[in-house]
């Protein structure tokens, strides 16, 4: 009887382990494609409906799908203690996870003109922009220049340095989130300068895209983030 109870205790323990492992697997959070708060064609003529649809339904969806896959593989590798697989997965996680993070911010950075897209920032953010860049035009010029000069694929950002309480303009390569450029950086406005963001409409003329995208930038959202972080 003692042996049987020992055996059953071991089996129970084994069952507990398996079930918690299963629970562990199931408990990793998966991500879903966020909905756009406006129609695909609502940002025309600055950004065409065709681009918005493909950008959202194909590119962003692919980042989400691949991010979920990578996270699942990571979870399995972590549970198995497979260090080399964990390390191998880092680039896929950075790329796809970054893609999901960046695009989620991007959709909120844009708004149709009739919902305030393009309206200059007021309040605290407007003041901070004037302080740091002289004027909104100065900021726009700087970001457009840096965006146009970025080689290959990437993003151009207006960020807030939480610690130094300053605004910064910076670029990141590929799908690197802004935080990879500084742990205290909070993205306020990000502009996607991957070719998929403008090619069907502007072809190789990225500066033209950068000139027009400002007409649909949602400064209200950027102000909200700024004020929240500055509290």
């Amino acid at each position: 009887m003692a042996i049987r109870s020992l055996a059953s205790r071991r089996t129970l323990a084994g069952l507990k382990e398996t079930s918690s492992r299963l629970l562990g697997l199931r408990s990793i959070q998966t991500f879903t494609l966020p909905d756009l708060p406006y129609d695909y064609s609502a940002l025309e003529p600055a950004i065409s409906g065709e681009i918005m649809q493909i950008h959202h339904q194909k590119h962003h969806q692919a980042y989400v799908t691949n991010y979920n896959n990578a996270l699942e593989q990571l979870d399995q590798a972590v549970n198995k203690g497979d260090a080399s697989t964990v390390v191998k997965l880092q680039s896929a996680i950075k790329f796809n996870g970054g893609g999901h993070v960046n695009h989620s911010i991007f959709w909120k950075n844009l708004a149709p003109v009739k919902e305030g897209g393009g309206e200059p920032p007021k309040g605290a953010l407007g003041g901070a922009i004037d302080t740091h860049f002289g004027s909104l035009e100065g900021l726009v010029k700087k970001m457009s220049a840096e965006g146009a000069a970025l080689q290959g694929s990437g993003w151009v950002w207006l960020g807030l340095d939480k610690e130094l309480k300053t605004l910064v303009v910076d670029t990141t390569a590929n799908q690197d989130p802004l935080v990879t450029k500084g742990g205290s950086l909070v993205p306020l406005v990000g502009i996607d300068v991957w070719e998929h963001a403008y090619y069907l409409q502007y072809k190789n003329v990225r500066p033209e895209y950068l000139k027009n995208v400002w007409k649909v930038i949602n400064w209200k959202y950027a102000s909200e983030v700024y004020e929240k972080e500055c509290k």
């Binding site: 194909k58 590929n174 090619y199 072809k203 190789n204």
Partner: protein
């Protein structure tokens, strides 16, 4: 020591190193004088835009004429024009061959502003010539044998090439290269403007010290083959601009179509033959003048 540098994508320049600066200034002056009647229009070009070896609609329906018009006519032409503008600013990079220019401006990983344009001019020249109308299918004889030897099977090579192209995050290129020292083929991927020419290793450095002129020139062909350890054989552009008009986001479809219908195994064959001849014949014994 006088040297004549000839490629079909650069103007022939005969330069005596001691009077190089003077003569280039003279050329500028002459050009300015002759064009003075046009209201002072100054035109200088060091590199020309080479046309692909087929008409722009020849790769239809796999790569549309529209794509070629924008990709070659705008992107590639832009790199050439911008490179010429940069080279026109001063004489520092005057007289290089394209391969030399790429390596010099790569500056061991700390690239100068000219690198991006120079490398992209080379990359696109190489890319157009890596394709042909009626391309794709299987390579023949020698190339096929080498691929089977180095990858196990042609299918395995396709898989490796496709996988590299799909996992090049962001913009870049995928290459089939011949590793000169090991005499084997490999698939490599590069990001943005980088190409395998910049990956010289220590062996090549040492060799270049021994021979002051270590470049082998093939006068019948446009491309220089220098003593670099990764010899490009085939390339595929995976910047979004190369497939977006025809395939939108579907890079996988583009890669498959390239392998099935576009890749020029003829070009691969001649590039490999030249690379192998160089390897087999060993280092050229060029007398130092």
């Amino acid at each position: 020591m006088a040297s004549c540098v000839v490629t079909t994508s650069s103007f022939c320049t005969v330069s005596d190193s001691s009077i190089r600066l003077k003569s280039s200034k003279l050329v500028h002056l002459q050009r300015r004088r002759s064009l003075g009647s046009r209201g002072g229009l100054k035109v200088e070009a060091y590199y020309g835009l080479k046309t692909p070896p087929y008409p722009l609609d020849a790769l239809e329906p796999y790569m549309s004429q529209r794509t070629l018009e924008v990709h070659w006519g705008k992107h590639h032409r832009g790199y050439v024009d911008n490179l010429n503008k940069q080279l026109g600013k001063d004489d520092k990079l005057y007289g290089y061959t394209m391969e030399e220019l790429i390596k010099a401006t790569y500056n061991n990983g700390n690239p100068l502003p000219e690198f991006n344009n120079a490398a992209q001019v080379y990359n696109h020249d190489f890319f157009w010539e890596s394709m042909q109308p009626g391309g794709g299918d299987m390579p023949q004889k020698g190339v096929l044998e080498q691929i089977e030897k180095d990858f196990g099977s042609f299918t395995n090579f396709r898989e490796k090439f496709t996988n590299a192209a799909l996992t090049q995050f962001g913009s870049g290129w995928v290459w089939l290269v011949l590793k000169r020292e090991e005499r084997r083929l490999e698939v490599v991927k590069t990001s943005n403007a980088i190409n395998p020419l910049v990956w010289d290793d220590i062996v090549c450095e040492r060799v270049s010290l021994i021979f002051s002129c270590y470049k082998v020139m093939f006068p019948l062909d446009h491309m220089y083959f220098c003593c670099c350890c990764l010899q490009p054989i085939i390339s595929l552009d995976v910047w979004e601009h190369s497939y977006y008009i025809d395939y939108k986001n579907e890079r996988g479809k583009y890669i498959n179509t390239f392998l099935n219908h576009l890749v020029s195994w003829n070009a691969a064959m001649s590039r490999m033959a030249r690379a192998e001849a160089f390897v087999n014949l060993g280092e050229p014994n060029i007398p130092i003048a």
